[in-house]
Amino acid sequence: MSASPVALPGEPAATEALAKEFGLSADEYAHALEVLGRTPTYAELGVISVMWSEHCSYKSSRVHLARLPTEGPKVVQGPGENAGAVDIGDGFCAVFKMESHNHPSYIEPYQGAATGVGGILRDVFTMGARPIASLNSLRFGRPDHPKTPHLLKGVVAGIGGYGNCIGVPTVGGEVQFDPSYDGNILVNAFTVGIAKSEELFFGTASGVGNPVIYVGARTGRDGIHGATMASAEFGEETESKLPTVQVGDPFMEKLLLEACLEIFASDCLEGVQDMGAAGLTSSSVEMASRAGTGLELDLDAIPRRTKALSPYEMLLSESQERMLMVAKAGREQEVFDACAKWDLEAAVVGHVTDTGRFVCKATPGYDPMVDPPEKAAPEVVVDLPIGLLADDAPKYDRPQKAPGVRTMTTQEMTSVSVGGASSQVDVGAELRALIGAPNVGSKRWIWRQYDHVVRDGTVVGPGEGDAAVVRAFCEEADGSILEKFLAVSVDCNGRHVFLDPLQGGAMAVAECARNIVCVGGEPLGLTDCLNFGNPEVPETMWAFAQAIDGLASACRALGVPVVSGNVSLYNETDGKPILPTPTVAIVGQLRSAEDRLGLAFDPAGAEAGHVIAHLGVPSRGALGGSEWLFAKQGRVSGEPVGIDLDAEVALQKAVLTLARGHLLASAHDVSEGGLAVCLAESCLTKGVGAQVRMPQTGGELPPEAYLFAEEPSRIVVSFAPAHKDAVRKVCEEHGVPFEVLGVVGGDALDIDGVCSVPVAELEAAHRTALDAIVGDDA
C-alpha cells in the first residue's frame, strides 16, 4: 500500500462506472481497488485500464498462446520482445513481427493504416535492426459494399504514404474481400529487418539511477485510449471514435530510424522501446517489468505540442514516432548529439528506480508551454506497482463452445451450385469469371502504389512469385557487405478457418511455408496476427483456441517456430464477427539468389518443351471453403477440406530440394481458385499457354470439382524435359505423388476435353479484377 497520489483539480473521481467507461469490468475494478488498498486517481485509472485492455494485456489469449512452439535452433529471440529474430548466418539475424491496426483503419483508413505501418517499423528498428521489407495482409467487406472503395483506397494510400516515404519496400501481401469484414476490416502489417545477433537491443529499463530519455515527436492528444478502443466491438457510435486514431508522420519516423541506429551503434543505451499502443504508459511499464525495476517519470519534462496537457492525457496519448530510451548514466550526451544531427527533440524525463513501482510526478496546473520553469513543483500523481500493470494483469481462460455442424458434402455442393448435371457447367467461362474476381485477380492496382523496389533488394517482387525474395545487405564491422536472400510471405484464408479452425489454422501455416519453398527458400520462423471476434462469446473463444492448436501443429510439423505475434480480438460490429483470421507471416532464406523461382511458365519454355507437373496429394474434388463455391452460393460453405501435415512436409522438402538442385523453371502452389486458377496464373504472368489434361483422381465428380477445389499440399511446377527423370526421382525419394499434366506452349490454357481459354482473355480478366471497386487503373 502506498500514500494516495495528489488528485488534480477538475478531474473526476474514479468510480466503478468510470472504470466501466474505460473498459474495465466490475470484477477487474474491484481487483484493482483490493491490490491498491485505495481508490486510484483519474490518471491511475487510465493507466490501469489501458494496461489491462485486451490489446496490451492479452488477457483472453495468453493461456492459449503458451501452446505455440517458440523454440528452435535458428531462434535468436522469441516472443516477449518488441519483435522476434532468427539466425541467417554469419552472426546476422532477421528481425520481424506483424501487428494489426484493424479498428483505427476502419474509423480513418489512411491514418489507421499508415500508423500501423509506422508502428511495426518501430517495433523492428527498436531491436536495433534496419528494416528491409514490409508486407501487409488486408481484409475488406464484399466488393460491392458501399464502403469498400473508400476503405480500400484509404488503406492502400495510407500504407504507401508511410512506407514509401520512410523508404522500406512493400514487397508483397494478400487481400481478401468477404462480407464478414463489411463492418470490420483487417489491416495487418509486417516488417523484417536485419541486425547483428549480438547487437540486438531490448526493451529493458535496467540500472538503477539510469536516465530515461524521451526521443522524437512531441506529445499531443491523438490516440488517447486507442488501445481501449481496439479492445471493444464496434457499434453505431463508431465514427465518434475518430479522436482515438493516431496521426502519422513518416518523415519524423525516418529521422527517428536513422538517429536510433546511430545511437544503438554507440552502445550508450541499456534499453529502448517505442511508444506504441498505450504510449508512454506501456513503454515505461513494460521496460521496468522486463528488468524487474521501477521507473519514475517527471511529466513536467515531457515534450508536448499542445497546451494544458494533463498527466492522464500524457500517459495515454498514442502520438506517433516517439521512443523511450534508458541510457547508461553519464552518456546522455551521445543520445542528444545524434538527435541534434537528425533535428530530433530529446529530453530526460525520468530515471530507473529499484522500487518496482511506476511513479509519475507533475505539478498540478503547471504548463511548461506557458509557465516559467520556476513554477514547477512536481508532486506524485501516479504511484502504481509495476506487477499490477504487467505480469499480474488479469488473465482469463474464457468459456468455449463448439458451434453446431454446418457442413454439406461435396456431392451436395456441386449439385446445389450447378443446379444438376455437370455438363451444364462451362468451365472456361467459370475460370474467366474466377480469375477476374477481386479475391483471385491481379492486385497490381494496390502494389503499384507501394514502392516495392527501394533499397535495391527486391529480387522477386509482387506478382512474380508465391513469396517475395529480398536481398539483405549485411554490413560487417570492416564495412564489407555480405548479401543474403530472404523469402517472405503472409497468408491466411479465413473461410477455411471458419469451416474448421483447427485444420484451417494449420492450413494457413502450411500455405505460408509452401509459398516460401515455391520461391526456393527454407522457412526459418513465423510471426502471427490472430484476428478474431469477441472472446467473451464461447464460440469465438473455441475457434481461437482451435486455431492456436492448428497453428501449433503445423509449426511443429514444418519445424517453423513462432518468434513474435499479436492478437486482435473484438473484431465485430453489432455482434457480427469476422471470419476467424489467424494471419501468419514466415521469413525464409535462400542459400543463394540462383535458387530463386517464380510462378510463371517461361515463354522460352514453349519451344524447349517445358513439362508441367502436379506434385502432391491428388484432389478429392472437395470444394469446401473455395472461392468458386462462394461465388456460386454467396456464403462460405462445404465440408472442411483438411490437411495431411505429413504429406505437406514431404512436399515442401521435395520442392526445396528441386529448387536447390536448379531443376525447375517455375513453382506455384494451388490455393484460392484451385488448380485451374493456379495454371492460369502461371500462364498469364508472362503470357504463354499450356496444354494439360485433367489430373488423375480417385473419384467421379464433375471436372469443376477437381479444378476449383482448394485442397492444400499441392504445387504445380514446370521444368525442362531433360530434368523429368530427376524431378520424378526427387519426388519418389520424398514420397510425393508426381504426375505430368502437360506442356508449356501455345496461346491458350487448354485443359483437354474441358476447356480452352486464350491466355489474353485470362490476362485481361485478371488485370482488371479490381476495376469494379477502384475504377480504371491505367
Binding site: F251, L255, H452, V454, F473
Partner: protein, 240 residues
Amino acid sequence: MQIAVIQFPGSNADWDALHAARDVLGADARYVFHKETDLGSPDAVLVPGGFSYGDYLRPGAIAGYSPIVPALRAFAKKGGPILGICNGFQILTELGLLPGALTRNQHLRFECRMVHLRGEAEGAFTHGLAGQVIRVPIAHADGRYQCDAETLKALEGEGRVAFRYCDAQGNVPASPDEVDAEGLRLNPNGSLAHIAGIYDASGRVLGMMPHPERASEALLGSADGFTLFQSLAQHLETAR
C-alpha cells in the same frame, strides 16, 4: 573516381545510389550529409531519391535551404556532373539548376512499376544512349514534368530532353492515354511531351524521375540503368 551521394533528411534512395556507384560500378562513393558545407573533391555528385524534408511544402522545396546547397551549386557551375534521381530531380528543379517542375501524377496516385525510356540526348550520363531503349523502374507520386512553352522549345531545340517514356520498341506514345499490352499508360504520370529526364544547358546536369540505380544489376530484373553509370565513368575518363 570519387562520387558523392548527398543525404538530405528524408533521402531514402541514398543507399540505392551508393550501392550502384560503389558496389556495382566500383567507384569511391561516399555519403555527404546535408549539414556539411563542403562536398570534398568528388568527380560527380548524385542527388538521390526519397522524400527530403518529408516532401512537405513541395517535393524538393526545403532541401534548397540545406547547408550543402552552395557547394552543390558551385560544383555545377564549374562543370561537375550531377545526376538527380526522382526526389533528386525535384530538388534540382527547385534549385533552378534544371528548368520546369514536377507536379502530382496525373492519376493522383503514387506509381511504382517498370517503364521503358528512349534515350534522346548525348551528355555526361547518356553517351551512346540516343535512340536506345532502357527498362527501369519508377516510384513517385509527383513525377509529372511541366514547363512553359518557351522552356519546352529550348529543351527540344537544344537537344536537352534526355529521356522520354516510350513502349518496348522505343515509340513514344501517340496520345497521353496510350497504353501498353498490359493496359498501363506508356506515359505513367502525364508528363509534358512524355519527358522523363532533362539536361541543363551544359549537358552535365541530368535530372530524371525513373531510377537507373535500381536497375543496375540483372538480379533486380534489369541492368539497363547501369549504362548511365558506365557513361559517367567514360565521361570522366575523357574529361581527365
